[in-house]
Amino acid sequence: MSPVTRLILKRLGMSLIVLVGVSMLIFTIARVIPGDPARIALGPNATAEQVEALRQRLHLDEPLPVQYGYFIRDLAQGDLGISLYTNRPVTADIAQFLPATLELIFVAGAMMILIGLPLGVISARYRGTWVDNAVRVASLLGVSAPSFVWAVILMLLFAFFLPLFPIAGRIADSYAIPHVTGFLFIDTLLAGNLAAFSNAAWHIVLPAFALALSGIGQAARLTRSNMVETYDRPFIEMAQSYGFPERRIANRYAFRPSMIPSLTIIGLDFAAMLGNAFLVEAVFAWPGLSRYGVAVILRKDLNAIVGTVLIISAMFLIVNIIVDLVIAFINPRIRLSQRAAA
């Protein structure tokens, strides 16, 4: 078995253990809270018999480990139970709302990488100059406000005062796009409707940028500080004494070793975005998981809460496995040895 295969298997196994832990944690939190979910679901007018019947149907009258057993059995069949809020399977609800959220996160993630890393590289290359200072202050500002504040400010500036972008929504109502994947970028292309595609792209700019800002700041900060450290290493001095152009030194010799910690933080920021998307979606009326998530939380809809948290955590673990793999492929010390996989 090659070291990379072994690494993949090891990370998958570890993630599975963590995911089981997450399910236990969120399941326990959801069941030990005060208040009877059956009573909440049926409302104050239901009779005691009706509540008791629902309790039995939901296995709420059995001990916690037994309830968890039922939950895992259903989960293995891809069943997360019925949402007491929408009266539909939780999996159907999540499948409906998740693509919009994922689309937003992917675009924001791309912005984070395409803007954050180059900013960090520029800042490090011109370290100590006004360029460096400007980037540092800007990226610190980006980190320093929650994404809903950026969302409100961006909306005010670029949708109201300077009406460059739409105020809310995913796409103009006039476009009727058949639902295939739920990802508008894919569905509009499948429908061959380029106007609808660009309309969707135009709608996503502001919310994605608001979501990406703190990640951009963090990626830029970390890339800069690692690169500045790398600049002190002898191999950079050697490259400089060879007379290599500054641009080549920055992009090849100083940036490469700094890329690994940057990628790690990008993985973590991705996780933060899965949560922060809730805030941005609320501001831009983005029809994603946010409204559903907040609604089910306020209604103590146990199945829906457990399901949503579980899906989000699973996505986070998948992203982190991908990041680990990318790191393994670009870092020869991991790619070529299995000791480092531990």
Binding site: P146, F148, L156, M273, G275, N276, G293, V309, L317, N320
Partner: protein, 277 residues
Amino acid sequence: MKRTAAILIANPLSAFGVLLIAAVVLGAVFADFIAPFPEHRGAVVDFANFNRAPGWPYIFGTDLVGRDLFSRILYAYRISLLLGVVVLAIAVPIGVTIGLFAGYLGGWAEYVLMRITDVFLSIPPLVLAMSMMGLLEPTLTNGMLAVTAMWWPWYTRLVYNLTRGEKEEGYVLAAEIIGASRLHVIFREILPNCVPSILTKMTLDLGFVILIASSLSFLGLGVQPPTPDLGSMVADGAKYLPDSWWLTVFPGLAILVAVFGFNLLGDALREILGVDQ
């Protein structure tokens, strides 16, 4: 002390951070004397002056029931800072202790403790806090509890990594050889060497706890009205954009100022204490 002063002078941004935080903390502590309308922190209505644009005497304008936004922001800072301090006062000792034991003991203890930490770290922080807040009643105490539950693992991870490095150092070996107990080695030898990193992170985190708490209340899962809170002020005002822009912009900027200040302060502290990033 001399070095600290030198760093602050050499780096005007750090000095600016100190000023920002001094202003925020003093404003919060002495809100009763500074706020032009201290009674506006509660459920007061003054319909004669509702929805006023910034001007005199309402420098940040008034909200939809006529309360002075500037006064309410000062009182909101009070709650935010209190929340930040309480959360860290609980989360840091828990996280640090677990990190020390996992890092120093190794073996099964390390495996179990770090996997539990991983579990908490693999639920996006805001989602974990949201679920807890939703399931509990939204009060200030529960808000602190929810944020604490998501905060300790970060300290576990930080201290765990530091401990793994420190335990190979000569001074730890020396203590072990002369027969010091495990507890002595962990708390008296290793812990003091982790303090600079922990302090730096705590300073940065005071800002980030304020940020997360405001996010919770923005979603309606935090401190409830009429208690002034920066996040819920932004949420309430967002419905009246763009006409009543001050309702969202000033509370939003208030969050930015506090978090930015703590970030600058944390960066300065990192330099003063010589902590690696």
